[in-house]
């Protein structure tokens, strides 16, 4: 099959348009939306199985596919409009690069997803992997204004727009956040930016988990104005005990005031990190998600965080845990078998908690699915949405088991 695919792709796109990845899968990396559309159209006509890849640093590159469509050559930062707090970037652009360029203009994309700093923005959107900053800035979908999407059969669609407020048409852009690429290849994104805050301070406390989570509840109750309030497990933070990290951003006076208030509300002593140490903490926590082969997230109400962390530990090892003490999103990384994952998903579903598999080796992804334990009617809707976006079922995305 590979030879036939290689020959056909060369015939269509030219002799240099295709290479083979480490697993011997033919791979194209078009540098335009039209190029992606052409590749998807061809794959659809030929009934090939297609795997979408970004910069290759997050999900293992191991899905069986006749053709890999990579967004790595779609890395232009098309527009930065600081006055409008908007940027247009191609999906293969690395978040670290994008934010570096944005900071030169005094704006930023308030994302701190798990994984490598050079993860592509398309990957972050497709997997909906928000990090600790979701506490203030919300899930990934809340940062999306519009996109360009190539559907499974090569249609190019452009839902949404470039302005921060927009209700024209159905919100297909937000559907792309966390869709794991099941609806097509995102090639370009219009993103909502924020102005760089004048002050950005991180405070940490190290203590037993129950002490920290109780403190986090008190802080939330007192409406501490934080950008992130994240609990890290001892293994993740490389500390003897759990760590509660508090990130305060805004104008100087406000940050100072909130830091004093946080101290007054808690019995332990907060330690302020230097900018370098703070950066190391947040980046280290993000990178930690790559140190196990399985990462999943659970959507828990803030009151249920402790109980849910225990629930996971009952069925798998303690892993590396990062939990949004205010947002209620728990991320676990480690090693787990299919049986363990199934047991956790079942137990979580019984508590109204969805489990989303963010990354795992292909056999686990395929057998377990990114999603599962659908509620009545949801599976049918998802299947029909996939038929609509990818009528030839070329996209190899194990959305559900």
């Amino acid at each position: 099959m590979n030879d036939k695919v290689l020959a056909k792709v060369r015939e269509t796109f030219g002799p240099d348009a295709v290479d083979q990845d480490g697993a011997g899968r033919p791979r194209v990396a078009p540098d335009s939306t039209d190029g992606v559309a052409q590749a998807m159209g061809l794959a659809n006509d030929q009934a090939w199985r297609v795997c979408i890849e970004g910069r290759g640093s997050w999900s293992p590159l191991d899905a069986p596919a006749d053709l890999v469509v990579s967004t790595a050559a779609l890395e232009r930062i098309v527009t930065i409009a600081p006055g409008d707090l908007m940027a247009t970037v191609e999906a293969g652009a690395a978040l670290g690069t994008v934010n570096h360029r944005l900071r030169e203009r005094n704006v930023w994309l308030a994302w701190d997803p798990p994984g490598h700093a050079l993860r592509s923005v398309g990957s972050i959107v497709a997997t909906g992997t928000a990090g600790p900053l979701r506490h203030r800035f919300g899930p990934i979908r809340d940062h999306l204004l519009g996109c360009t999407l190539v559907t499974g059969d090569g249609r190019v669609v452009r839902p949404g727009g470039k302005v921060v407020k927009n209700v024209a048409g159905y919100d297909l852009t937000r559907l792309m956040a966390g869709g794991f690429g099941a609806f097509g290849v995102i090639t370009e994104l219009h993103l909502r930016l924020r102005a760089i805050p004048a002050a950005d301070c991180t405070f940490v406390a190290v203590a037993p988990r129950d002490v920290l989570s109780a403190a986090a509840r008190d802080l939330a109750q007192a409406a501490i104005d934080a950008s992130a309030m994240e609990l890290f497990s001892p293994a993740l933070a490389a500390e003897a005990e759990w760590v509660l990290a508090l990130r305060l951003t805004g104008i100087e006076e406000g940050v100072t005031d909130e830091a004093q208030r946080a101290q007054a509300l808690t019995e332990f002593i907060w330690r302020e990190l230097s900018p370098d140490r703070a950066s190391a903490l947040w980046h280290g926590a993000a990178q930690a998600a790559l140190s196990g082969s399985v990462t999943f997230r659970l959507g828990v109400l803030p009151e249920g965080i402790d109980e849910t962390i225990d629930l996971v530990a009952e069925h798998a090892d303690a892993g590396l845990v990062s939990a949004g003490a205010g947002s209620g999103s728990i991320r676990w990384t480690g090693e787990a078998t299919l049986g363990q994952l199934q047991a956790i998903r079942r137990a979580a579903a019984g508590r109204e908690i969805p489990l989303t598999l963010e990354r795992a080796p292909w056999p686990l992804r395929q057998a377990f699915g990114h999603f599962g334990a659908y509620r009545e009617g949801v599976g049918n809707l998802v299947a029909r949405l996939r038929d609509t976006f990818d009528p030839g079922h070329v996209l190899q995305v194990p959305l559900d088991a």
């Binding site: 809340d142 249609r155 302005v163 919100d171 609806f183 100072t256 959507g299 998802v382």
Partner: protein
């Protein structure tokens, strides 16, 4: 099924007194907040419970009858109008706040709960529901979901879609599905995000779980007057660029200020101002005080001719009164008013406003601007009289041109009012055929027969489904 038979069947579900079929009974349901469109439904039915909604939708599915869900009918895009073949499903009796979960900051409500009532109910717990459309004392949360409603305070806290975590929906075939989760993480792809703003075409939300916010400890309001809209707009851009996110950042132009000052809602605004900005800063007292200093300095640097500041609820209410009552005040100027809704990139505001004035002059139409400047969401108000047909024609032409100008500036045809029936013709200005076709297909996933709120959002001629044989 004939109208009387249908009314009888509906009456058996909800009780005869909750079914309206006589012309006089249907009159209140002929229009929503948009003055230019009217339609009389076949029957209006007012269910009293979720179970009755489900039973009604199943009956209509069996009979192949289209339906339109409606809340308070305050929408401004003709989205809640039902044509003579459709049943109007009025949800105002489903008005129970079912649960307030204080520690997790969630509220579970029925769709007919009035927006402002939710914040009243949660206030004793120090919580409120942030999206605050101007019609919040009347509009329902179900309608807010359908339209993805906004409001002045969405600049800092986000619009409806940012606050909905879970929905129970009834699709047109009568099937019941729960989307999202109490925390907000989806069970699968994010169907809550897809449902919000679908203008009632994907089904009816029968139970809504919303995220609440803590009531800010302090709110300060600044009012600044300017000699030109351009100077005011530049001040807006500078405030946003400073990193401060005001809770609200609203602009009224000179004609609006004078309309307010000439009315019983006079708020003491400077009558000679070309533009007035209202800025709300909220949060912790220390931060609010510091932000107030920074914003005041920016306003001065941008040549504000006058700056007032208010911190007590009574003083703040007085500064806001003119803004909140602006639409009422304009009632003195004109018999009818079209409240346009479009969005432009913030940086283009001064040029776009100039063009809007030019369009008004050319068409001899009075245009008054009052809008959400912080997010570039314009509301040009076009004054007219529906009995003056020539004027009405000019108003429609001016409205079309305004939309075209906003689209050309890189904007959108609606920021918060929705497409409904009013803006169908403009959809091809911002979406190409492939995108419109896909939207049409996605609607078919939820409602293959196209019976839920038919004829809205996607222009029928642009729809592949229609071209292939028409909506049934």
């Amino acid at each position: 099924m004939s109208r009387p038979d249908l009314a009888d069947a509906l009456g058996r579900i909800v009780g005869p007194k909750w079914v309206r079929q006589a012309a006089a009974e249907l009159a209140p349901f002929r229009a929503d907040g948009l003055p230019t469109h009217e339609a009389t439904p076949r029957v209006a039915v007012l269910p009293g419970s979720r179970d009755e909604v489900i039973e009604i939708v199943r009956l209509l599915a069996r009979e192949g009858v289209p339906f339109v869900a409606r809340g308070a009918g305050t929408g401004l895009s003709g989205g809640a109008l039902a044509e003579s073949h459709a049943v109007l499903l009025v949800l105002t009796r489903l008005n129970h706040i079912k649960r307030i979960d204080v520690p997790n900051r969630r509220a579970i409500v029925e769709p007919g709960v009035v927006n402002a009532r939710l914040s009243e109910a949660t206030a004793p717990y120090g919580l409120y529901y942030a999206p605050d459309p101007s019609s919040q004392s009347a509009c329902t949360l179900g309608g807010n979901i359908a339209e993805n409603a906004g409001g002045p305070h969405c600049l800092k806290y986000g619009v409806t879609t940012n606050h909905v975590v879970e929905l129970e929906i009834v699709r047109a075939d009568g099937s019941v599905t729960r989307l999202g989760s109490p925390q907000g993480e989806a069970w699968g792809p994010d169907l809550v995000a897809l449902f919000v703003g679908s203008e009632g075409m994907f089904g009816v939300a029968t139970e809504i779980t919303l995220r609440l916010e803590p009531i800010p400890l302090e709110t300060r309001t600044l009012l600044a007057a300017f000699d030109s809209v351009r100077a005011a707009s530049e001040a807006v851009s500078r405030i946003i660029a400073s990193g401060i996110v005001p809770a609200a950042l609203e602009m009224m132009d000179g004609p609006c200020v004078r309309a307010v000052e000439d009315s019983i809602y006079a708020a003491g605004y400077p009558r000679d101002a070309a533009a007035v900005l209202l800025v709300d800063l909220d949060g912790r007292p220390t931060a609010v005080a510091a932000e107030t200093r920074t914003v005041s300095r920016i306003l001065e640097e941008h040549r504000a001719t006058e700056i007032r500041s208010a911190a007590t609820p009574a003083e703040r209410a007085r500064l806001w009164q003119g803004r909140k009552k602006a639409f009422g005040a304009m009632g003195r100027l004109t018999r009818d008013l079209i409240v346009q809704d479009a969005v432009v990139p913030r940086s283009t505001l001064p040029d776009v406003i100039d063009k809007i004035y030019e369009i008004g002059r050319r068409h001899q139409v009075m245009i008054v601007n009052v809008f959400h400047a912080g997010d570039g969401n314009l509301h040009p108000n076009l004054c007219y009289d529906r009995t003056d047909l020539a004027l009405a024609e000019r108003v429609f032409a001016a409205g079309r041109e305004i939309i075209q100008v906003c689209v050309a500036a890189g904007g959108s045809i609606s920021g918060e009012h929705g497409i409904g029936t009013d803006k169908l013709e403009f959809m091809p200005l911002i979406f190409d055929q492939a995108t419109l076709d896909l939207m049409c297909d996605v609607r078919g996933v939820f409602d293959p027969d196209g019976r839920a709120n038919p004829g809205k959002v996607i222009p029928v001629r642009a729809c592949r489904e229609w071209r292939a044989g028409g909506f049934r």
